[in-house]
Symmetry: C2
Subunit: 148 residues, 2 copies
């Protein structure tokens, strides 16, 4: 898909897909190679011609080498605050998925690692996550009943 | 918001917000003034600087004159099949809401009317809805338990 090809468009927010990948008793986070730096859930720009779940599967594979089974395809979490990304108004459609295969960092990530839910909670408290991913992961932990 | 201003962007699908407005024992549908013609749930392009729920509230007001209370802000329905709109790859973030106030068609609509759920089911069967709104409304009716 020609995501790099520029065309003229109306001024819309840019849709992205992010994925909370459950893998080996924890969650997969990547260390970003490009700014904004920091730990983040895997994801990327949505491309013309790919449904959002297909886009999420492609991004997960590229960034973590994992195949994923998405559990909330029809009603994903959506984050659309205009200030959630410092670069532009980006919308995150966030899927929750189980990961399968061998975890390995892809081109856009320096590292890809599994973190326990306790570690994730600590990162949220310590403001160690990029973008609004602390908010996204907190909502996930609440949905799962890990925090109240 | 400068939705009409053109800028250069990567080639992304265009996000839109649609709203299933529950009002007086039925659902509000509009008759479209612009192609593609047909009956549709109210909605429109997402604008830079507005969160998607705010965008939905603005579109609902413009097209139906109603104020709305959204019930699924955090986990809306999302439709992203590349072929769902004949014009371009458009993503629909679909909210379910209760409508308040006096129903009146806005600029983009010829008419805005309330249809009973039986009428909606009939329209789905008769292919009377624009875009993939038959699919969207069928998913809604299933969520509500009106159809199996």
């Amino acid at each position: 898909m020609p995501a790099e090809k520029e065309i003229k468009q109306y001024r819309n927010p840019i849709p992205t897909t992010d994925i909370i990948i459950e893998y080996q008793e924890g969650i997969v986070l990547i260390e970003r190679k490009n700014p904004p730096y920091g730990l983040a859930i895997p994801g990327g720009f949505s491309e013309v011609g790919l449904s959002l779940p297909d886009n999420a599967r492609k991004e997960a594979k590229e960034e973590t080498n994992l195949e994923i089974m998405i559990e909330n395809e029809d009603t994903p979490m959506v984050f659309s605050d205009p200030d959630r990304d410092p670069r532009y108004h980006m919308i995150s459609i966030t899927y929750i998925a189980k990961g399968y295969g061998k975890l390995k960092a892809g081109d856009d990530a320096k590292k890809a690692r599994v973190y326990s839910l306790d570690q994730v909670k600590e990162m949220i408290d310590n403001d160690a996550l990029a973008f609004d991913h602390a908010k996204i992961l907190m909502q996930y932990l609440k949905q799962r009943g890990y925090v109240k």
